[in-house]
Amino acid sequence: MKALFNYIKEVLGGFYTLLQGLGVTGKYLFTPWNYVTQSYPENREKLQMFERFRGEVIMPHNENNEHKCTGCGLCELACPNGSIEIISKSILTEDGKKKRIIDKHIYHLGMCTLCNLCVRACPSDAIIMGQKYEHAVYNRSNLTKVLNKPGSKIMEGIKE
């Protein structure tokens, strides 16, 4: 008799746990308007990334097409996987001295692991992390970027 009682208890107890599970999912089933999905391409305008979000390395330029990069090469040294290459050239300054300035700051987004070490290494805050998150391109060579814009100059007052 006790075995029979236990058997019934087992069956009903099992059923009860199943009903509890159904209760959890039922709560969501009957409130279908409480969804957490974000419709991605539609909310592109509203989508605001966090300010520290690391999307890509960029070099900000001001309105006079000037940047802060001195071409010192510290970011190139700090990069763990060689995604930054700095090509510098030497020019003659007004007072007749030779000076090395940056020619091209080449950045391979395809190799970058977005580890932030180059930004940390930069003494003049010339490069920062951008917020762009859509990086897909049709050709791999488009992932190699020149960060300083053509014809740009170094900002006044940035020391080597």
């Binding site: 069956v11 599970g21 969804y35 999905t37």
Partner: protein, 362 residues
Amino acid sequence: MAFSIYDFTDLAQSIHNGLSSSLTPVWTTVIEWAIIGILYILFVALFGLFLVYAERKVCAAIQQRIGPNRVGPYGFIQTIADFIKLLMKEIINPKGVDHFLYNLAPYIVIATVFIIISMFPFAPGLQSFDFDIGVFFVTAVSSVGVIGILLAGWSSNNKYSLIGGIRSGAQIISYELSVGLSLITMIILSGTMQISGIVNGQADGWFLFKGHIPAFIAFVIFIIAGTAETNRGPFDLPEGESELTGGFHTEYSGIKFAFFFLAEYMNLFIVAAMVTIVFLGGWQPLHFGTGNGFNAAMDLLPPIIWFFLKVCTIILLIMWFKWTFPRLRVDQILTLEWKYLLPINLFNIILMSVVVLMGWHW
């Protein structure tokens, strides 16, 4: 030509009369068959697509997602787009399969579905076959489908498929017993095996309410066993996605896969429709007793809508199970059947016999 949404008997009769007045009896029969066949194919295709869509929306709601929402308003055309994709896919015959059986299997599965659906009364007058052993016929035919799954599993020449097919065989043959026994419980109450007779017997109240506790137990067991029969929900071992990658239909693609897919959803409909017919009064509106105001109010809704309302509720319930419970293991499925459902069922038959003999039902 009289037409009423409440009763299709006159419509069917007038079509028959119209055809036989201008054609020989042989041609009448042939054309009637063709009409019925086309209607059933349309019904299976459309309702199957609707069920696929419904399943996606239900699981999305449970999982706090939106579900299909790209193709058409609320993603309504999504399943049609998927179906077109499946139709246009290349049909791959893997190397080493048993070609004849491999190609035969999906047709066996889908053909079973059509045979069973032909037994269902959707509304008064909307039924193609009405044997006096209707319930028996449905249970008998529904176990033919497992042959298709077994063949698919065996002929695919894939170890996952083979395990899936064998699991399916063991499972369906076991649960056939529970389905049968819980139907027998209700047949004791109804006193007939004819499907139209069962439906008509519920004009003054559904069997679920008429039969008290034994009917309710049979109802629960039938839903459990029916879910197992359709290889769904917590009983989807033959597919066993996380273990067997796809189970018996791993090697199928394109339209043949679509057949399995459609058959699974139509089996869901079949189980829900059987529950509706046997426990919830088929197309009968919700009635208590005879000839009161409540019954008259309920009669306003056409029977065909009542039928699909009940079917959809049961389908929702079964979908709800699927998206809540973890899957059982193959030995536990058999344990559940042989150690729990079967004894309870046998006891339930005795209980129902006593209830009927003593006249405690109403």
